[in-house]
């Protein structure tokens, strides 16, 4: 496949997904070619392949006009290194640092060599994702009290720092935010994440395929379906297994249910953060009704473990279809009436407008993705451009805005709720008959696959390698929050500290997803 002037020898691996191997030296040229044609780096991760006598490896997933390109470069056993990609795609920075912390693979020439996921739980010369690292805790000493992390200091007359977290004042995940401010105005924000690092990737190693789906769904619980589906897609590609049509359609139904639930919650909290408690109560009433119906129809409020390798674990009957369609109609009218109130509410509009702005050109340069990207004119939605089944039969309308502020991110959520409701009606009306589940083909040799799902927050990727024993050898789940967290540092600049909660909520990024 040609990208730029060069033919990169990529092979198709599932629909809209391309696979290639190259020398580490070629990675830069590929990244430049992708950047020049307007593409993005989505994910970067490493692997220890020494047990397969293949040294180490660095993997990159790039978004191009032809779909997703997954390339791998083999690296030597000793001093594995690859060229820095962050000067081309700034979003690579934290992924490169995490890859070093977990595997000891170096990005040569990287400007920022600070640790990222490592705090004090393991030593500088230990690398948890190396196969010879013992994951057991018995020999571990209690962590040092202070994680000395070199924050970048802002100096000058009247500058002071506000340190927030890791434990925040609300019901939020833990992370540390270091604000440098003059008066109320933010000069700089620096994030320190990794507090929820649970060793998820190590945990996958040696797991059977069915249990792996459960763990994948718990990488970031609010995106359970997106992760479970991406994981299963990867496993099904790796084993060359077919999933029955009905199961694929039900997966899409679950994904849209999850999108609506999250968007409803966020719209409520956005109201709450500008002191419109009415908005919170109304949207959370609607969300609760939605979750209860989900539990009634499928047995779990958030559909945990309803997607399994080879299909789905639960069906919907005719009664359930009618009930869900009726609830979709009711919800549509309710959201419409609340939108009229948000549109008309002067304080809310004043607080939302021009707050936390990420302009389109900056968003493109830094790789802003998903929902937040679409609010800054980054028109990517895998469901629309690179649809996997059944989205290839659904004709998804993408929601975009150009303003890149809190208002734009709220508007995208409103539009996506309506589009998801339309999709749900369509999915219910045209749901094919058939089985819910087909057994996976047996694994005979080492095999690999990639899953790519447009979750409510953005694209979720799961790369899987299965060993010859049929168990998981390496799993890397990628959360869109990797790319979007650094944009929050930019979006807050020049805003006042009290607007931070509002701006933060308008992105609503995952901590657990990228902390892994």
């Amino acid at each position: 496949m040609k990208i730029g002037e060069h033919d990169w020898h990529l092979d198709p691996l599932g629909k809209h997904i391309w696979r290639g191997r190259m020398e580490a030296g070629q990675l830069l040229a590929l990244a430049r070619a992708v950047k020049e044609e307007g593409g993005q780096l989505i994910a970067l991760w490493g692997a220890d392949n020494r047990h397969l006598s293949r040294g180490f490896a660095i993997h990159a997933a790039l978004l191009t006009s032809a779909g997703l390109v997954w390339v791998t470069c083999a690296l030597p056993d000793e001093a594995p290194a690859y060229p820095d990609l962050a000067h081309i795609f700034p979003q690579a920075d934290r992924m490169q640092r995490a890859t070093f912390d977990l595997l000891g693979i170096t990005a040569t020439g990287a400007v920022d060599g600070r640790k990222w996921l490592r705090h004090t739980a393991w030593a500088e010369d230990e690398f948890p994702l190396r196969k010879d690292f013992s994951p057991l805790s018995a020999h571990r000493s209690p962590p040092a009290a202070v994680d000395a992390y070199p924050f970048i200091r802002v100096e000058g007359d009247g500058v002071h720092e506000i340190a927030v977290g890791p434990i925040h004042a609300g019901t939020i995940e833990p992370g540390h935010f270091r604000f440098s401010v003059i008066g109320e105005r933010v000069l700089r924000l620096e994030q320190r994440l990794g507090y929820t690092h649970k060793g998820t990737e190590k945990r996958f190693e040696g797991m059977d395929l069915a249990t792996g789906a459960k763990l994948a769904g718990r990488v970031s619980g609010d995106s359970h379906i997106a992760y479970a589906w991406a994981y299963c897609m990867a496993v099904e590609t790796a084993t060359d297994s077919q999933v029955p049509d009905r199961a694929v359609w039900l997966r899409a139904l679950f994904l849209e249910i999850e999108r609506i639930a999250n968007h409803l919650g966020d719209l409520g909290y956005l109201g709450n953060d500008v002191a419109l408690a009415f908005g919170f109560m109304q949207f959370w009433r609607l969300k609760e009704d939605w979750l209860r119906l989900t539990a009634k129809l499928f047995g779990h409020r958030y559909l945990f473990d309803r997607i399994v390798p080879g299909g789905v674990a639960v069906d919907i009957g005719d009664g359930g279809r009618a009930e869900l369609a009726a609830e979709a109609d009711r919800l549509e009218a309710e959201v419409h009436s609340l939108k009229a109130i948000y549109d008309d509410h002067a304080t809310l509009q004043d607080r939302f407008t021009n707050t936390g702005v990420c302009k389109p050109d900056l968003a493109a340069r830094l790789g802003l993705t998903g929902l937040a990207g679409r609010a800054s004119a980054q028109a990517w939605d895998a469901r629309a451009q690179f649809p996997q089944a059944p989205y290839d039969q659904l004709d998804v309308n993408m929601a975009t805005q150009r303003r890149g502020d809190v208002l734009a991110r709220a508007e995208v959520r409103f539009s996506e709720i309506h589009e998801s409701l339309r999709l749900i009606r369509d999915l219910l009306a045209r749901l094919p008959a058939g089985d819910l589940h087909a057994p996976l083909k047996p694994v005979r040799d080492v095999c690999e696959g990639l899953g790519w799902v447009e979750g409510w927050r953005g694209e979720v990727l799961v790369a899987v390698r299965i060993g010859a024993d049929g168990r998981l050898d390496r799993v890397h789940p990628h959360d869109p929050s990797w790319q979007n967290w650094p944009l929050l540092e930019i979006g807050i600049l020049g805003n006042i500290v009290p607007d931070f909660p509002l701006i933060n909520k308008s992105f609503n990024l995952s901590y657990s997803g990228p902390d892994l």
Binding site: P143, T171, T200, R218, G221, D222, W284, R285
Partner: protein, 177 residues
């Protein structure tokens, strides 16, 4: 005009709050000395500080949910507060990640005595799917003392409320109010 629309919506919606569930005393893992005495001090209310000690954020979804209108927790005297120094109870989620172990201990120390700890979710109760590894300490009780464990992945809002109320209930016959 927004005010008019808001009032119209409020009246049209009516009350959606439901009666409080009963405490589920089976979720208690230990009985603190002076339990009855403590309850006299607290009266009818409990202030909760939530600490995510490494959760996948699934449990957080349900903590948000109980703050919604169906559950009317403030009507039961349950209130979430911003600082452990204002709290009577820590509600802890997640397997405790080693990167958050120190912060959790500090939050516990900052919470004034007497206090309760409720561990929420399968991970908080047992370590769940993440277990005890180089990166996590597993269940909450391996790091701080726990009074009530609420299993589930995630526990439903009702189960969570039954657990919170179990911590602050008088005895086996009392009900939530």
């Amino acid at each position: 005009m927004a005010t008019h629309l808001i009032l119209q919506k409020i009246f049209k919606t009516g009350f959606v709050s439901e009666p409080a569930p009963q405490a589920d005393l089976a979720l208690r893992t230990r009985e603190q000395a002076l339990h009855t005495e403590i309850l006299k001090i607290f009266g009818q209310s409990v202030a909760i500080r939530h600490v995510d000690a490494g959760s996948c954020n699934g449990c957080e979804l349900e903590i948000h949910a109980i703050n919604g209108p169906h559950y009317n927790i403030e009507g039961m005297g349950v209130k979430f507060v911003a600082s452990p120094r204002h709290a009577d109870m820590l509600l802890v989620t997640g397997p405790v990640s080693r990167n958050l172990e120190v912060a959790l201990k500090r939050a516990y120390d900052a919470t004034p005595e007497p206090k309760w700890v409720v561990a929420m979710g399968d991970c908080g109760c047992t370590g769940g799917m993440f277990g005890e590894t180089y990166a996590t300490c597993g269940k909450v009780s391996s790091v701080i003392p726990v009074d009530v464990e609420v299993p589930g992945c995630p526990p439903t809002p009702i189960a969570l409320l039954q657990g919170i109320l179990a911590a602050v209930s008088q005895n086996k016959t009392s009900t939530a109010s």
